[in-house]
Amino acid sequence: MARNVSFDLNNPLLEAGLESPADEEGVHDSFNQLIAEQSQNGELPEALELQQLQREFDEEARDNVPYLPSPGHEHGGLRQRQGEMESEENRQTDPLVCEVWSSATLKILSSMPSRTIGRSRGAIISQYYNRTMELRRRRQSRPSIRDFSPSARPSIRGYGMDADATDAEGSGVSKRERLVNNLQNLSVSDRVRMLQGMPLSVAEKRELRRLALQKEKHTLSGSQIPCCSQLKYYLIIALRQSWYSWLSFLHSLQLWQVLLKRASGRFGSGVLSYFLFLKTLLFFNIFLFLVTGSFLVLPQAVHPPVLPAERPSFTGLELLSGAGYFSDTVMYYGYYSNHTLRRSCRDDPGSQNPSVSNSTSTDCVSKHLSYNMPLAYFFTIGAAFFITCIILVYSMSKSFGQSFRIDKSHSILAMKAFCSWDFKVIKKSSVKLMSENICTQLKELLAEVNQKHVKNTVCQTLWGLTVHGLAWTICIASTTSCVVGIYFFSEYMQQNLKETVRSPTHNPLLKEASLLALPVLVSLINLLLPGLFNLAAWMEDYDSPSVRTYVSICRNLMLKVSVLGVLCYHWLDRVADNPNTIGVTCWESFVGQELYRFLLMDFIFTLLDTLFGEFLWRLFSEKVLKRRRKPVFDIARNVLDLIYGQTLAWLGVLFTPILPGVQILKLLLLFYIKMGSVMMNCQAPRKPYRVSQMTTIFITLLCFPSFIGASVCVTYTMWSMKPSSSCGPFRGLKTMMQAGKLWVQELEKDNPRLSLLARAHAYLVENPFFLFVGAGVFLIIIYFHSQVVDGQRKIISLLQEQIENEGEDKKFLITRLQSIHERKRTPARRLTSQDSAC
């Protein structure tokens, strides 16, 4: 509505053809930019209106032909009608009541543009013609509008005038020719995109394409193309071919197509979203693993440092505990050397000695082949986190944009009716379930619409509040007690370790096994407490399933965040402060091992949960309880478990660069196990599930507490923790940050011209002030953005109002038109009744 409207003024007869009696131009007239060009003298507006009016009357006169005995009456009739119109204006009767239209009005109505969109061939062709025109104009340097014949001008409203194909076949053909012309002038990719997007049948599209190509070839051969441009032509074709094959190759790479399809066919989009989320996490980890693998693990594996002679033998328990045999491998932070790896110095034994910090002391000359490990470590981790952050924020904002469209509570019923059917679902029982689902939802909505204000009594409200309060108290109390338990248990385990260090006769296997106690406890808590929360939610008996899900997410999140908080405190404060007391020389490696154990235990307990919670429970309920109900797959909880695991992986990547690889394996296994379990044991969820909103929430959770928390921990470690002095790439430094600082200083020493860089580094990286400024700017941008969205929302509501008004106007105009027809016909009938009886 807000766009300026254009209209072709001087070719209505040409365009629509005289044989069309009901030309919709009579109804939806608009103005033309052509006029602005043609009549650049000041008399534009009045002239325009006059022309407009005149044409309207012409149209109606034409319309009137069947009723008028001879065309000679036209002018008289015109004048007469003019008078009528005026008189009617004075009377101002409201004819909206009458709803039975004459056939002429109906014809006009049916050819109105809003009713022909995507419908008739002609309308689509002209719509796409206009689009190609716009595209061409945007691509090219905007040719003057005079270059086109008047009728070729795009109407800025997306659809042209000659909408009705049956009525205006002739004009449809010419439009089509012009569309072909336009298509031919587009670039190849644009043309393909246009063709693909057209809501026409394939046969039609192929014909269009054939015509376009034919013309192209014709022009090409006609102009006697030189050899080189012919070569170009073939080159383009070859490129396109290879692009297609590349695309199809990419598509064939997509993981798990069939399995995902099967799951969605049985369970609908809700369960599918879990697996898609898992897939997303897998890609995050693959990215992380590729980065750390290629920049840290591989270079270090190629240049192995000299290891202490006696290494613990492989016992098998290492796979669980990650300690022992694994502890001095490329898996952990402690293994990485702090010197520069040089290829050319391999034959020089002195430079290979890892125990001394010798990055400057070697006599190796060729510096261009050196690989500064501490620097690489520092920047790889930093860059990996940075890129992950960008990807996460981007996907989060995209998913926000998709799922939280403006004003959500509008037209729920209509949406339910049209958009709730999941066309993917094919299993018979699931389909039945879904239709039952929709049915109950509709009923609920109806009930809501009918009786919105059923007030509970005070007593009921009080009771409800008490129950909610009780449930929350139970949840918070249990969470707190668990967290306190973990706190003291970790302290106790540390004391235990100290004692075993003091008495070296202790069995090393037992010592390793005792390391597993804390992860087992935490995983057990993670497994059992959600059950308690579910029990509390069952007690509360929420009305709306979404509130129930939110509450459950909230409680689970509270638990996981506080558990991880305590653990982080344990690692970064207790363990890192005095690692020697527990017999650890390298606290980073120890923390890395701990994280490995946690990750593994989490996986094992998820498997146990799958086995007991889904498989055995199904057997139990089928065989013992004789119920046909299968357990329902709890999407929210499972996704939160995934997020928890991912947080561990992010936390650990600094200490265990290979941890993303472990996480990849875990996710792969988990995918197949969960898929099998879901297919075998579960039934489709009975509660409706808002997929896109939930996906948004999950991605947000992945970003906000999970990723941000992990990166805060990692940054804190890099920024202000003292790395252990006898191992790892940062030994001998005060903080990990200093690696970068030293490098910059060295650069400055080598090349004084780079002092600017050094100063920039000192100010930008080491000074927390800039970090705060950056964060502040980021927040301000977000704030502005939300303000803009808010403004748009207001504008949208205004526009909606306007559309409503337009609708009213349209109605009014139609009734006016109808009444004019009626009146016109009465005298006409009187005349014709003398000639014929019909």
């Binding site: 969109i117 995507g118 693909q196 997007g197 199809s248 959500k408 049209f418 066309f423």
Partner: protein
């Protein structure tokens, strides 16, 4: 794919590729599936664009559907390349007939190969929102008057709920739904109304496609 006899010329394949969201391989697979529907009707050779229609009854009672009743649920789905697994096991889809009807050129549900390709192209994952909206509108517009009026909505609702709602409830839902979505107060949904409503339903895109 036996390559002894060509099904399509290169030119044809390229045309299909440009006009749909499918690749060459997928088109060939689609053709072989189409042919499986009625082997006696559909020739292998499509180079001269034969005008052949497979009737609705054959399309919805395909051999694949029989597998459907068997124990394994996965097998009835065709695997077209890795990207595209088309499932025509719509025995349960209440809109099955309607979709086929919408895409058939003659409106009777008889599909030519072009219509067949068209149908899957519109329902596939890569097809844009606009196209999907247009076809969804066509599907829901039973009487083809370019409006979704109360009768259309009633039919949709009855298919959705399989007659579980009482007629009064259906009527009430129709009234309310149209009232909610109708912008210009003409008591029926034009395409613009429909599009506007769809744009607010984030699940539409994910729901309106046959999983690929």
């Amino acid at each position: 794919m036996g390559n002894k006899q060509t099904t399509f010329t290169d030119e044809q394949l390229e045309a299909y590729q440009d006009c749909t969201f499918f690749t060459r391989k997928e088109i060939l697979r689609l053709h072989s599936r189409y042919r499986e529907l009625a082997p006696h009707l559909v020739p292998l050779d499509y180079t001269n664009n034969p005008d052949i229609r497979v009737p609705l009854t054959l399309i919805v009672t395909m051999p694949e559907l029989k597998v459907c009743q068997g124990p394994s649920e996965g097998r009835h789905c065709w695997r077209l390349d890795c990207r595209l697994t088309v499932c025509l096991c719509w025995q349960e889809n209440p809109f099955r007939d309607r979709i086929v009807e919408t895409f058939s050129e003659d409106g009777q549900g008889n599909l030519t190969f072009n219509d067949f390709v068209d149908m899957f192209s519109a329902l596939c994952e890569t097809s844009p929102r606009e196209l999907k909206t247009i076809y969804a509108f066509k599907i829901y517009d039973y009487n083809r008057d370019n409006f979704i009026c109360k009768e259309d909505l009633e039919k949709t609702l009855n298919k959705l709920t399989k007659g579980e709602l009482t007629p009064e409830e259906v009527a009430l839902v129709c009234d309310k739904a149209i009232e909610e979505a109708d912008l210009d107060a003409d008591n029926k949904l034009s395409f613009a109304d429909f599009e506007n409503m769809i744009s607010k339903a984030p699940d539409f895109l994910s729901n309106f496609h046959v999983r690929i």
